[in-house]
Symmetry: C2
Subunit: 175 residues, 2 copies
């Protein structure tokens, strides 16, 4: 495995992506930290990514030797975000969020989307969700849905949970 | 309200605490950021606090004008940690964690404590939990327990949840 300090991309890795990775890995540790990732990623309104999303992305995509995975991961989210940002405003409105959920196969009420908007949208006359929050919401929604489905073996749409079942689901999936 | 830039503690605020706050607020923004808090707090093994715990603490205790609350908050957690660290090793072992939960009034199985240890303990011959992870675990446990109790109105120890009930509990309490 080539060292990231050599300046040459490992075989099979896009040299441009490798240059980006080396620039982001500011301390040349060979790992991208939450702080480094945060400084490398911007929303369309020029705000830096929030800490929670960077933490989720790092823990999902692993360390330096999976860095092409990290790049693919970011690119896939950007593509998805642009696809659901139908008016190309650079952020996701309530209606766009509802449509995105529906196309991703989630059956969620407008009230639930409203709760997410209240929590994650930028406060303005037209509340909307930036790329970082969109990634966070979708990753956590997927994780919670997986946890629920594991319990809802009969696919009836509701489950009976003991206190420790509930705690274990959250600890395993969300903490 | 006195400005933090004046160098004089506001009335009723311990001057030493105020000096600490000003040192932590490195960019003199009047707010303590996650990054600033992270640089100010150490575990007994000299490691800095993890990002998740700093985020939880900041969102719990609010911004600069509640800074005496932030100080009290940190001090209370330190006291509690020292009380449960019975052998004064500077960290919490599996047995100490079980005892702590029991004294806090939680009825949790050894398996659940083991899950927390596997997730949060430092890996060594004697796995143990540092102050930052202890604060994180206790804050999130409290939050999840509150969420569960809201649904378990009959105090029977288990609840039936729809998919959206479950998502809403997690979004409202954990995200």
């Amino acid at each position: 495995m080539a060292s990231p300090r050599t300046g040459n991309a490992p075989p099979g890795v896009d040299p441009e992506a490798f240059t980006w990775f080396q620039a982001v890995d500011a301390d040349h540790s060979g790992y991208i930290s939450v702080k480094e990732l945060k400084q490398a990623l911007l929303n369309s309104n020029w705000s830096t990514f929030n800490d929670e999303t960077c933490l989720l992305m790092i823990s999902e995509s692993g360390h330096v030797y999976g860095f092409s995975a990290l790049l693919r991961f970011i690119q896939q989210w950007k593509n998805l975000f642009q696809q659901y940002d139908r008016d190309q405003s650079g952020s996701i409105s309530f209606n766009e969020l509802q449509q995105a959920f529906s196309q991703m196969g989630y059956n969620l009420s407008p009230q639930f989307s409203q709760l997410l908007m209240a929590r994650y949208a930028q406060r303005s006359s037209n509340p909307s969700i930036q790329l970082d929050r969109f990634i966070q919401v979708c990753m956590q929604l997927q994780s919670m849905t997986d946890a629920f489905r594991e319990k809802d073996t009969g696919l009836v749409g509701n489950v009976r949970l003991s206190y420790e079942d509930f705690l274990t689901m959250v600890v395993t999936r969300m903490m």
